[in-house]
């Protein structure tokens, strides 16, 4: 009985720690309220523009890319989507060519590009892999956050629902959600 109780406590603690980790968002980032000048991403004036910033080796972002595919399929003509994969300075192209690159490239209508030295990521104020930033046709910020319910988990989530509502005209004008993924940049020395 005692062994069973100890086992139950240890297992419960372990599962709780796992779920706490899965539900801990990455570092927050604040994108500009209007489309940033100087971005090499072409914004279309006739539709909303979505930018997703991804660390090519982040395992949690597989779910984010999967959710993006689902979104794009449902919002085909209302959205211009771009996926930027971080390429730190001094590292070759093939460091970026991971399964995430292939998955993103396979989504019809999505432009997948390198982000040398994270220039665009910094320009858009992104800090966490999987972060999605949505600007409307007029270039105003409408959504900033993640589109997964937890780290590495796909499924129903507030971010996806918010974007769908925004672009179908039934939602709020502005939404923000937590982003679950790896940090895009090295930790700042303290």
């Amino acid at each position: 009985m005692l062994a069973g109780a100890i086992w139950a406590i240890v297992v419960t603690a372990g599962m709780s720690a796992l779920w706490a980790y899965a539900s801990r968002p990455g570092p927050g980032g604040q994108p500009p309220n209007r489309w940033p000048d100087g971005s090499r991403i072409a914004r279309r004036p006739d539709r909303a523009t979505l930018v997703m910033l991804v660390h090519p080796h982040c395992p949690c972002s597989r779910a984010s890319v999967g959710e993006l595919a689902s979104l794009v399929a449902r919002l085909q003509d209302r959205l211009s989507a771009h996926v930027l994969l971080l390429q730190p300075a001094g590292l070759p192209d093939d460091w970026t060519q991971t399964d995430l690159w292939e998955s993103a490239s396979a989504i019809p209508g999505v432009e997948t590009v390198h982000d040398p030295d994270g220039t665009e990521a910094r320009r858009f104020g992104a800090a966490t892999s999987g972060q999605v930033i949505l600007y409307d046709a007029a270039g105003r910020l409408r959504f900033n956050g993640g589109i997964t319910p937890a780290r590495g988990h796909s499924g129903d989530n507030a971010g996806r629902d918010a974007i769908l509502a925004l672009l179908t005209g039934s939602g709020e004008h502005w939404s923000e959600t937590a982003v679950f993924g790896c940090a895009l940049f090295d930790a700042e020395p303290s």
Partner: protein, 448 residues
């Protein structure tokens, strides 16, 4: 059926059912112990494949999932495996296994990022747990998996300005599908248990029927023994009594020869009764598996000549005994006392059941190192209906008439042949005669 017998049969059926159930539970516990190990290893492989490292820019470290797969997965599997090996068959063991299986499902689903395919592990687990045929094990696995979803929804809800997401309804849907499967699995478990009970009941009834048959056989055997004993002992006792009474009353008037004659009769009948008792004891020892068997290298021709000479004494001048055996036979390993019984009984029967002036032949040979005896007579023969019971104790042929006999001779002969690893065969025709062929084996360690 007798009510007491019915109750005994029901108790036996219950005992058989519980024994079968215990074996099933223990076997299934061991299966799950193996499955737990495989699942633990699969979880580690999944973690290394899907999420080996976490990153921050260019810096990486082992992902928490790897540690979770190794340590948390190992912990989840540990108690079920230990209980399956140390306490198999107990209810507590299979309940812990069910909880462990549910936790493993939750862990695997988490490690694979909530893939739909991994959710099949839940339904597969419920199906595997049905092997126990105990619906109670489905309760903990269903509760654990449902609680995993529910507790996450409560303590780690995803909210947009405080509004819960649709994951609350998804919990309800997952639980509903599990309950759907549970209903059918529970029905299957209950049917399985009913079938096990039915098989146990049939087995108990068969055992009871066999016991009744044995009891009947025993009663018949007892009846035959009493019948044989009363006849075979009464006759010599009557003779002994008559001889004793005659000696008591007339000894002073008898000649020496007459006294010797009476005393000789008493001696003969006592020896006859002693022989009969000896046969009864021998068949009792043979039935209990305690018949002494002491093989030794024996000159078969010389031994058989002695036995035939003794039988010739019994036959007196009424029948002819012919003995044939090749010279120069190599010694064979047999128990000489048992061979005396075998050949002695066959020759005694052949003489006893043959008419006057009939011929009884005895041939002895060694074929492939095995002694072979053939005893042929021209006697009354054995009816076909008696062949099946020929070697049963106390059984006598239906055509023996007033020829005396205990019915033990052939029973002892067969036991003695079997203990040598041999065979005995008979051919017979009523009114024409009978031939017995005995072939003795070569028991291990008893070669000449």
């Amino acid at each position: 059926m007798d009510p007491e017998l019915t109750q005994a049969t029901e108790r036996r059926a219950l005992a058989l059912f519980r024994a079968d159930q215990q074996r099933l539970h223990q076997h299934t516990d061991h299966l799950f112990a193996g499955l737990m190990v495989l699942q633990w290893l699969a979880g580690i492989a999944a973690a290394f494949w899907i999420s080996p490292r976490a990153w921050a820019g260019t810096v990486s470290w082992p992902h928490l999932h790897v540690w979770a797969a190794v340590y948390l997965g190992g912990t989840i599997s540990l108690l079920p495996i230990v209980l399956a090996l140390v306490r198999p068959g107990r209810l507590s063991t299979r309940l812990v296994i069910a909880v462990g299986q549910g936790l493993t499902s939750a862990l695997l689903i988490h490690l694979t990022g909530g893939r739909i395919e991994t959710h099949f592990h839940v339904f597969g687990s419920i199906a595997f747990l049905s092997f126990y045929r105990d619906w109670r094990v489905l309760v903990p696995v269903t509760l654990v998996v449902s609680a995993d979803h529910l507790v996450r929804g409560i303590y780690w809800p995803e909210s947009v300005y405080g509004v819960l997401s649709a994951s609350g309804w998804r919990w309800f849907e997952h639980t509903g599908w599990m309950l759907f499967e549970d209903v059918f699995v529970i029905a299957s478990c209950r049917r399985g248990v009913r079938e096990m009970r039915s098989i146990a009941t049939r087995q108990a009834e068969l055992e009871t029927a066999n016991a009744l048959v044995e009891r009947g056989k025993l009663a018949e055997l007892r009846s035959r023994f009493v019948s044989m004993a009363s006849h075979e002992f009464r006759t010599p006792l009557t003779t002994i009594l008559a001889a004793c009474q005659s000696l008591v009353r007339y000894i002073d008037h008898m000649t020496a020869e007459q006294r010797r004659d009476r005393l000789a009769k008493i001696e003969t009948e006592v020896q006859h009764m002693t022989g009969l008792l000896d046969d009864v004891l021998t068949i009792g020892k043979a039935d209990a598996g305690k018949l002494d068997f002491e093989p030794a290298a024996v000159d078969l021709k010389r031994l058989c000549e002695e036995i035939v000479a003794e039988a010739q004494t019994t036959a007196a001048a009424t029948q002819r005994l012919l003995f044939a055996c090749a010279d120069g036979l190599a010694p064979v390993a047999v128990d000489p006392k048992l061979v005396r019984r075998i050949l002695g009984n066959l020759l005694t029967n052949a003489v006893k059941y043959s008419p006057v002036d009939a011929t009884v032949s005895c041939q002895v040979a060694v074929q492939d190192g095995q002694p072979v005896f053939e005893v042929r007579d021209q006697g009354i023969g054995i009816p076909t209906e008696d062949r099946a019971r020929l070697f049963e104790p106390f059984h006598r042929g239906t055509n023996v008439g007033k020829i005396p006999g205990s019915g033990l001779g052939l029973a002892i002969t067969k036991k003695a042949v079997e203990i040598h690893g041999g065979t005995i065969a008979v051919e017979s025709s009523v009114g024409k005669g009978t031939t017995f062929v005995v072939r003795l084996g070569c028991p291990e360690g008893a070669r000449g």
